[in-house]
Symmetry: C2
Subunit: 658 residues, 2 copies
């Protein structure tokens, strides 16, 4: 664990810090400050798109968003993750940073960019081989070839292993035949499909010689000169809650023939003589390995959520130091909203959570960069990839829920003015709402995290579905099972930090000691993971059917995953602040870090009391400390949101900012 | 307290009930079933408006909504609350029932109706005298005279006592001169103002002979034959997050002259010889008395929120018994969403809360009807009115937050399909979002509730602002103070039910005993109210300034108000079920009532543990019981939402309902 210089006592001399906005912004922008500034400049230049989203008709706005995608492609900001030989920047981390920053602006543009370069481009890059790279990458990076990512079907969004679309190999013609067998198997909600995509990467059940090999990805041409090709039916998904600059649509394939070479064949192929072959024997493992290479999509969406929330926080905090209502401290002048204790309580824990998630996202993005920037060696480091996938899933879930909750609270904190579209919240709310669902439903993602924790990312178990996981649990002795979970690693770490009898240990450290805070979150994680293992085991032993066992333990499964991710988030934040030189910046960040840690513990303080890790008096003390931290953050709040560096042109909101 | 026939033991023989949908619907519809069915029929006939909200341009849609308002007026459903001699129905309760039911349909229509008949019509009816009734009521009930309610200003939404618009009496001309002194004093967000209102009820600071008398209401003509009159400037509020069928706008008055008779003079008047007079001497009291007569607006909005949430619950529950995803209990068939424990956990406590709020709203609406249907005698029963206002404020706050949260959770539970506008959630979310803000910001309303609790609705204190409340507290001995709060009444009731030593009492009753559940909520209420009193007192005694004292105690203030309202809600639910004859309907409702009570306690179980009213083991038992109740409700869930009687044509959602 990172060393810290904090005293860990609540009574130590405290001097209110000042925040240097520029310095804080440099810290937040991190390694990719230059890329982020490029995107800020581009967004500012085209800030008019925020108005156009409201004034243009839907067809016009879709064209406008497509044009902006091409403009952004021209600046190089959207191709940063592709190899330089195809016109890209060769820097995945930079690509993620650019995408995150796009979230300050119109989110149809962000999602359109994500579809073209992240989903479509990412699939070609990650699932294809050199022939596909040579055929498509240069054009797609330049925006000359637009594509879509046709995975989700009306009937299957979360359980994509059960997709219905088929790709049967016809050895006579040496072609695949793509077929939509029924309406639930139509591709649905596919961005870029309704109008702009020339080609689709279609996920379909591969059949060779009558035998199924599971879901694989195929390049399927959709349009030529804007005309939909024969055998393909396209339907527009119509008006959506938000993101109406993106042309989502449905696709049906009626025996569409594509050359054998159009199979994206990095992980499996059909040979010249018509045999299926793959270096990965287990079909489940093969499928999840393919999916795993697309993890950057989740990393990007989580980052986008966290950054969209920054816009809302900036508006709410700045409004709070301008808007007055009711006389509270004076008969002559009404009180600023942000001087009300409740208003601080509503906004500052979310502000602290946003900072925490920002640094957790930074850690995740850098790891993603590192894992995918290593040439070869992918098999050796399978566990690292699994852990990365889990971290991405967890950060995406927490980051996007944070966005939904934060934007909502900030909207309410800005009152009726925030209901007018010009004041930005209408689009923020509507456009981000689907973030909790797409790129993996958040609940399903947390189950994925929990599965990893229960099996300690063992590769043999990564392909288990819920039934399989429960059966796996049932087959083992309880000790072995607990030993196999990620929980056992945590236990020693907790005991090292906080020894002492069970009912005493919570008294031994100050609330502001990060070691105490981390130990609390680690204890909860360890306890919930092994609790889930015990519950699953007990259910099976009692003769319940595995589905029922899983259903009954499901809330504990989710709680363990959340506990795990919150611990990772706090670790990232603590590590970040510990590395800083002493000074005001560090003091200010420690206030936020303490507020994140303690408000996280406070939210779940019932659990800690139920499990003997918090006494009533100390629980109340945590609440007092959270209030105290809010008061200390009050004078810094404006600087803390200004450090996000949301370009003023993107804030709009004349009624809120005055 | 209502007697109950429940056994109160968890181990009693339990037989799964069946729900007779028709019977449950009759129970929910209550006294005004006929009125509700009339509105259902009207909504079904014009269900096309839900599509038109998406396909029409904003100007077209505004006209469409206005036309529907006239159609609804023609059926009599919108005039139920007005006296029969002016073409109304003479039944306030029926009027509220009709309005609530409108929330199943397009919410622009609902709000347009609310503006015209609730706000504008209500102001004329409640604040005006016979001459105003004669002049306006018949035309406004028929929809021939459209009006708006011009209270809110850009600078003042919550603290309306501090409005900036002035109405100076000119004795020479015997007229009032209405003036907007500066931009923060422009009227803002005023529904019907941008296009359709012929007249406005304008709230302005009355000045007579240079002396201010506080805010009063005036009838000000705005348009003749659609043309805005001289001296008035109108600006459109433009696109909003939702409710775009309502023409919200801003108004500036540049010395607009109106006859003296246009003062709505029920509570104050300017005499023929130019003197100000009012039967209520205290200007604060006068103002809050005026506002108090408009309480039906809050009652209506709370009810609308609760009913809009029913649409979301209907969709999510029905989708949950149709949509399958992942194999859980079987290798051959995927599992229904609603058979997952987590899915039940996400939806059923909200379903139970919705039923609870429905009955609390029914209680509130009937009391509103009773209080306002008594001719004369208004002064004698001032305390009853204060309690009604408090109940309306609290139910509005909880009902509209419930709507926001429920619609969001149901949206997420329906996955990506719920993001398409045709599937109803887009409009539900966007249109209801402002419910938490308009007709009183929810946080401000809960403060109002708390003030009532602290002063026990004493009329001398009802006009206190925050500063005044803190000073009032400071002036009393602690015992007197606690004695004066509403809390002291609760204490005996708790002790009667649950005697025994403090650390024992939580063990003495079964979790499903409503007396136990109510005692828990009463204890929390009593403790939080007296806690707030103590905190305020202590802060003043320690020499802090009153604003700071209030700011620091504000989260406790809100918590006490919430505790109070949740207790009222549970009482209403328990009373409703207790009155039922034995049978399946009662058993089913008791499941929901228990789930509401226990999930309410569970949410705040940390507080109960901190205050010695729940042991860790019992706290965990409550969570288990909540899960168990969810499993018992699972087979009833579809019937329980079908009993809401949301007309099928209003659900739309082909992708969700299949």
């Amino acid at each position: 664990m990172a060393d810290t210089t904090r005293t860990g006592t609540e009574t130590s001399a405290y001097r209110q810090p000042q925040v240097d906005v520029g310095e804080m912004r440099r810290l937040l922008d991190g390694r990719y400050a230059e890329v982020r500034d490029l995107v800020r400049d581009n967004l500012t230049e085209y800030a008019g798109v925020l108005d156009e989203a409201e004034t243009m008709s839907r067809p016009e706005f879709r064209e406008r968003v497509k044009d902006l995608l091409l403009v952004m492609a021209g600046t190089g900001q959207t191709g940063l993750g592709f190899p330089e030989e195809y016109g890209g920047g060769g820097d995945l981390g930079a690509s993620i940073a650019a995408f995150e920053t796009l979230a300050f602006g119109d989110l149809s543009v962000l999602v359109k960019v994500g579809v073209q370069f992240g989903l479509f481009g990412g699939a070609i890059l990650m699932l294809g081989s050199k022939r596909h790279h040579d055929a498509y990458l240069e054009d797609l990076v330049a925006g000359r070839l637009l594509g879509c990512f046709a995975m989700t079907e009306s009937g299957h969004g979360s359980n994509v292993q059960a997709l219905g679309t088929t790709a049967a190999y016809d050895p006579q013609a040496d072609e695949f035949v793509i077929t939509t067998p029924d309406d639930p198997s139509r591709k649905d909600y596919i961005g870029n499909a309704a109008q702009h995509a020339d080609v689709a990467v279609v996920f379909a059940q591969l059949e060779v010689d009558g035998k199924g090999h599971g879901v694989h990805a195929f390049v399927v041409p959709l349009r030529r000169d804007g005309e939909v090709l024969a055998g393909i039916r396209v339907e527009d998904d119509g008006l959506k809650m938000g993101l109406n600059g993106v042309d989502n649509g449905r696709l049906w394939f009626d025996g569409v023939r594509i050359p054998r070479n159009n199979l994206l064949n990095r992980f499996a192929d059909v040979t010249d003589d018509g045999r299926y072959e793959s270096p990965i024997a287990n079909p489940d493992k093969r499928f999840f390995t393919m999916l795993g290479t697309l993890v950057q999509g989740r990393v990007s969406v989580g980052g986008a959520g966290i950054n969209a929330a920054k816009v809302a926080l900036t508006l709410a905090v700045r409004y709070g130091v301008r808007r007055r209502q009711f006389n509270a401290t004076s008969q002559d002048e009404e009180e600023l909203l942000l001087d009300y204790g409740l208003h601080q309580r509503r906004l500052f824990p979310l502000l602290a959570e946003n900072y925490a998630l920002h640094f957790a996202q930074e850690t995740l993005a850098l790891r993603t960069h590192d894992v995918f920037s290593v040439e070869s060696g992918e098999d050796e480091d399978e566990q690292a990839r699994r852990e990365l996938e889990s971290r991405a899933a967890g950060t995406k879930a927490l980051g996007t829920w944070h966005a939904t909750r934060t934007i909502q609270e900030c909207r309410e904190a800005c009152g009726g003015a925030a209901y007018l579209s010009v004041n930005r919240f209408a689009a923020l709310k509507a456009d981000t709402d689907v973030f909790t669902t797409f790129e993996g439903d958040n609940h399903v993602l947390l189950q994925l995290v929990a599965k990893g924790l229960l099996t300690d990312y063992a590769s043999d178990f990564e392909d288990l579905d819920q039934l399989g996981m429960v059966r796996f649990v049932a087959e083992q002795a309880l000790e072995t099972l607990i030993e196999r979970t990620a929980a056992h690693k945590l236990l020693e770490a907790i005991k090292d930090v906080l020894p002492g009898a069970d009912d005493e240990w919570d008294q031994e450290a100050g609330l502001l000691d990060p070691n105490y805070q981390l130990a609390m979150l680690r204890f909860r994680e360890e306890h919930t993971i092994s609790g889930v293992a015990r519950r699953l085991k007990r259910g099976i032993d009692e003769g319940l059917n595995p589905g029922e066992v899983f259903s009954r333990a499901q809330d504990h499964v989710l709680a363990s995953a959340r506990a795990h991710v919150e611990r990772l988030v706090l670790e990232a934040f603590v590590a970040k602040t510990a590395d800083l030189p002493d000074g005001d910046l560090k003091v200010a960040l420690n206030l936020l870090c303490d507020l994140y840690a303690l408000s996280t513990i406070e939210k779940d303080r019932a659990w800690f009391m139920e499990h003997g890790r918090l006494r009533a008096s100390r629980s109340k003390a945590i609440t007092r400390e959270v209030n105290d931290l809010c008061r200390k953050i009050r004078p810094l709040a404006v600087d803390l949101v200004d450090a996000y560096g949301v370009p003023p042109a993107l804030l709009r909101s004349p009624d809120l900012l005055g």
